[in-house]
């Protein structure tokens, strides 16, 4: 029993070391291209500036739009932008490239699963984005645009963003797995990303959608990627006329992560059976 516990601790330590080493390598690798990431410091505020003018014009003749005030609407877009920097993921593109080129075969021989490796890479990549993208844009929104980007409850906001971080990874990774069936999946990948972002509430709050669509969106997992973290950040949740407390909706978000993990496991099991790599 003692030996078993000892082995478990040893294995956990090993996994943490792999995570740290991969994340650090990715961080260093991408730090060489930090100017690419820093484009966000220009692009993010410019996109937001357009939103400010559009919504100011819209609200010039009315107080609220689907129950949201001008300030709430701008906060929505502000949070959406900065959360995007924290949760961005490219594991779908990376995995599909590895499968298409046959380089994936090298991962079949490594003592670490590709998904864990990819997740560790994402972690390193996003840590870099934290100071190159997130913090500068956050400060610009806060001080230049005077957008209140302070979460209603910091604990629940952090939990929700963390769950979103994992969920984005799992959903994208599942799209990457489709590369085992389809030779070139760039089209499908982009289709999914568009659908995901629309249904997640990246472009407009989901409450602007027609009632029927809101009801459908409530039962889809996409709202947990952007819409839910934003509403948790703001401190109130409502969709399709359904109001929930913050702990309740974060609980549902956690369940969606578990469900997505099971989908990933199933797809991975079926997909790797199909893989044939020759002389990569």
């Amino acid at each position: 029993m003692r030996d078993k516990n000892f082995n478990q601790v040893k294995n956990l330590k090993r996994q943490i070391n792999i995570l740290k080493a991969t994340a650090l390598t990715t961080y260093k690798e991408w730090a060489a291209y930090r100017s690419h990431m820093a484009v966000s410091v220009l692009v993010g505020p410019v996109f937001f500036l357009v939103q400010v003018f559009i919504w100011n014009a819209i609200y010039s003749t009315r107080e609220t739009v689907t129950g949201l005030t001008l300030n709430q609407m701008l906060v929505y877009f502000g949070i959406s932008a900065v959360i995007g920097y924290l949760t961005y993921d490219s594991s779908d593109m990376d995995l599909q490239m590895l499968i298409r080129t046959g380089k994936f075969i090298t991962f079949m021989l490594r003592p670490v699963t590709h998904s864990y490796f990819a997740f560790s890479q994402k972690l390193g990549h996003r840590i870099l984005a934290l100071w190159v993208e997130f913090i500068p844009v956050y400060l610009l929104f806060l001080f230049v645009f005077k957008i209140n980007l302070v979460p209603a409850n910091i604990f629940w906001a952090l939990v929700s963003i963390t769950l979103s971080f994992i969920l984005v990874f799992l959903t994208n990774y599942c799209i990457g797995i489709t590369g085992f069936w389809l030779t070139k999946t760039e089209g499908l990948r982009r289709a999914f990303l568009v659908l995901r972002d629309i249904c997640a509430g990246v472009f407009v709050p989901l409450t602007l959608f027609p009632d029927l669509m809101q009801k459908v969106l409530f039962f889809l997992p996409f709202q947990f990627i952007t819409y839910v973290p934003i509403r948790v950040f703001i401190g109130s949740y409502e969709l399709a006329g359904i109001k929930m407390s913050i702990p309740q909706i974060v609980g549902l978000q956690a369940l969606s992560v578990v469900a997505m993990y099971l989908v990933y496991k199933l797809l991975w099991h079926l997909g790797t059976k199909r893989f044939t790599g020759v002389g990569a």
């Binding site: 410019v46 003018f53 030779t183």
Partner: protein, 260 residues
Amino acid sequence: MINAMYIHLQGIKTALAVRMAYRADFFISIIIMLAVEGITPFVTYLVYKNGASLPGWSMYEVLLIQGIFLLSRGISFPFFFGIVWNTIERVREGTFDLLLIKPRSVLHMAIITGFDSEDLGKLIGGIVLFTAALVNIPFPGLFQWLMFGALFLVSLVVMFGFGLILSGLGIVWVANFRVYEIFFSLANFGMYPANIFSKMLQTFITSIVPVAMLGFIPASVLLGRPAEGTLYAVVVSFVFLFLSLLFWKAMLKRYNSAGG
């Protein structure tokens, strides 16, 4: 001239043949391109369906601006804006050198080999959106159509200017595909009526970086209410193209081969 056009057609033919190796992905990509470009009009639709509006502008008038913007991109992106992607990719791989040794102008070769067939989806989307908006507004007269035609050509001039700037950046800023985002963030201003922006911004998008020419100015003529400073914006557009060309040539001089 005929020879140059012949080479251009050959470039298009070759690019289409290469893309057809993955037909299913090609057609999916075209449909996706349509869907991606539909996001802004869809948001406009949602806003108006919720009873809100941009003051002084009906939904179809705003959609007309966005349709013209999309039409302009639908022509420029497949036929010459591919210079951006082509340059960045070639500089990264080291194959940009090959363009330097061809018996043609480097710029012409960069455009020809950058034909992007997937972006034809934007053209289809532009035609659909433009037509849908047009049938829901008072039909423009002949003079308005002529003015619109001329201004639409100027919008392509501005697009080409942007293509040159981004491509020039791609020569020195290795492997940074995010230059597209810089363009999209600025071009966003051309997709909405200019009067919703502050005076300073209106001056900026008509007289400094003429993004208003990409959608708003041609649409205003078609709607029978020409935008303030249209003539000035036309002149600025050509100056913009000239400066972009100078910029591109300056960047080309700074090109350091990666030796791929």
